[in-house]
Structures are given as C-alpha cells and as structure tokens.
C-alpha cells in the first residue's frame, strides 16, 4: 500500500491538469490521487465535504498528503479534517507545498513506497529544481 495524494483546488480544470502532468511521471505505475476541486455548479471554489470524501477515498491505510492551491483551500481542508474518522484524520498531512511543483515530486516518491513524512518532505522541496536551474 502506498500513501495517497489529495489535490484541493478552487479549479477543477487546474486540479485535473496538475494530476495529468504529475501522472506523466508514473508510466505504468499505480497511485491513488484524488481531486476535490471547484464548486458543485462547476465554478471556482472549494468544498470541505468533498475534501473529506477525497481524503477517505485516497487513504488506503498508509495515510494521505493533501496539497492545496490557496489559503482558502487550506481552510476547507482543515475543516474537512473534522468530518473524518479519527484514524484517518491522524494519518492525514496537510502540506503547504507548491501545488503543481510539489505534486510532481510527491507522486514519484509516493509511488516508490515512501512514508507519509517522506512524501510531504518531497512535496515541500518542489521548488528546488526550478531554483537550481535559475541560480
């Protein structure tokens, strides 16, 4: 079992495109990546209940790392934690990592069997390749 990844965004299109970009790094490999993005009517926004459902869906026992786009998405994700069973909540990490850059690194190490801490740490290093290239 691998750590699950959850992408929380105001924009469904953004979340789906970010996941597509990241999944490129998993040719032939499996990984659960769930998306909670946009409002029910297709607009821009986040939904704490949808985040909660996405976390439960992504959690296969090894926990999840949740990446969010903006501050208000963090509020929804933090609220989502309240609606989770205790055990699932305890193995959920909300990450301040850059959404797109962090996701690419996170899926690679998660698919490689890393722990939740390792996946979150890799996401947190998401800007490093760009910084190294621009140095």
């Amino acid at each position: 079992m691998t750590v699950g990844i959850v992408v929380v965004s105001h924009s469904r299109a953004l979340a789906d495109a970010a996941v597509e970009l990241a999944r490129q790094m998993l040719p032939g490999r499996e990984l659960v990546v769930e998306v909670a993005a946009g409002t029910e009517d297709g607009g821009l926004g986040t939904d704490a209940m949808a985040v909660s459902a996405a976390i439960e869906a992504a959690d296969g026992g090894e926990g999840t790392v949740v990446l969010m786009d903006l501050g208000s998405a963090v509020l929804s994700a933090e609220t989502a934690l309240e609606f989770l069973p205790d055990d699932v909540r305890e193995r959920t990490t909300l990450s301040a990592a850059p959404l797109v850059e962090g996701l690419v690194g996170a899926v690679v190490v998660a698919a490689g069997g890393a722990t939740r801490e390792q996946v979150a740490a890799e996401a947190g290093r998401g800007l490093a390749p760009k910084e190294a290239q621009l140095r």
């Binding site: 926004g45 939904d47 704490a48 209940m49 949808a50 509020l75």
Partner: protein
C-alpha cells in the same frame, strides 16, 4: 434558543444576504475576487433547502446541519468560517454563549486577529456586547460599527491581503455579511 427562533434567524439572514448579494459582491470586487455575495447566497439557499428537506430535531441538530451545509456549498473562505461558526454554536445553551463559541471557532479556523480586516472585526464586538449583558439589537449595532471600522484597515488575512495598502478604503465583505447576520438576529431572536 428554540429551534423555531433559530430557523427564523437563518431565514432572515438568507433573505438579507439575497437582498445585499450585489453589494457584498461589489465589496469583494474591490478587494477580493468578486464572489462573496454569490457565495453566501448559494450557501444560505442550500441551508434553507437542507432544513426544509429534513427538519432537524433540535437546535443543536439545526446548527450542525447549517454549518455542515455552509462548509460544503459556499466555495470561498467564508464557507469554512461561517460553517465553523454554526458548528461551534451547537454546544451552547444561550445565544450569547453560542455566538462566543462560534466566534472562537472562527478565530481558531482562520487565525485572524481583531484588526486584520475580516468578519472577526464585526463578530468580536457583537460577542463582547452580548457578554456585557446588552441586547441582541445592541450587539447588531456593535457589529455594524465593527464593519464600518474595517474601512480604513489594511487587510492581513484572506484574499484582500494580496492588495496590501490598496485594501484600505473599502469595507470588508465578510464583516459586512456578519453585520447582516447580527441584524437578522436582532430582528428574530429575543
């Protein structure tokens, strides 16, 4: 707080939000993303529908259902914030105690402080008035004054904070809707 009173409060709040939808959105257009009116209107419409569909057994159930609906349907930062307000109110016996618990929930959720130009600046003064034994109408007055006091402030939380100094000179949308929440309370709660 009877279930009926709370229902009346929520219905009136939904009405006021609907009436002031464009004004709230215009405020959010000046210092945010122009959706606060639409967000809250969508949220409160969903709350009324949810309460209609499955009338809650008691005040606590009603408040929890309201909070759970708002965190799901509003879409913006105000969703988890108003949602948490109602969810935390569910534990208390009196309106002042409930609003105080809700306020503390908002503070914990949003990590804003008084003066950050948020709904906190309307909600805090209302709680203080109620705790000082004043009437709900006086609390609504305090919330309105708190809303007005956000005008010169520079935002330090939420989307308006991206604007820095440029956020000064406009009332905060969330403080404005919170003043409506207290106005609705003054009109419906004893």
């Amino acid at each position: 707080m009877s279930t009926e009173e709370l229902q009346a409060w929520l219905r009136r709040f939904a009405e006021l939000v609907h009436e002031h939808k464009d004004e709230l959105t215009a405020l959010d257009s000046a210092i945010g993303d122009a959706d606060h009116g639409a967000n809250l209107d969508r949220g409160m419409t969903a709350v009324l529908a949810a309460l209609e569909e499955a009338p809650p057994a008691d005040a606590a159930a009603l408040l929890k259902k309201t909070g759970a609906t708002l965190v799901s349907k509003v879409g913006g930062a105000s969703g988890p914030l108003y949602g948490t307000l109602f969810l935390r109110m569910a534990g208390a016996d009196t309106f002042p105690a409930a609003l105080r618990a809700g306020y503390e929930g908002v503070l914990a959720r949003g990590k804003a402080e008084p003066g950050d130009k948020t709904m906190v600046d309307a909600l805090g003064p209302a709680c203080d008035a109620l705790d000082a034994g004043r009437s709900v109408a006086e609390a609504a007055q305090a919330a309105a004054e708190g809303r007005d006091a956000t005008v010169p402030l520079v935002a330090r939380k939420g989307r308006a904070s991206y604007l820095g100094e440029r956020s000064a000179g406009h009332a905060d949308p969330g403080a404005t809707s919170t003043a409506l929440l207290l106005q609705a309370a003054a009109e419906t709660l004893s």
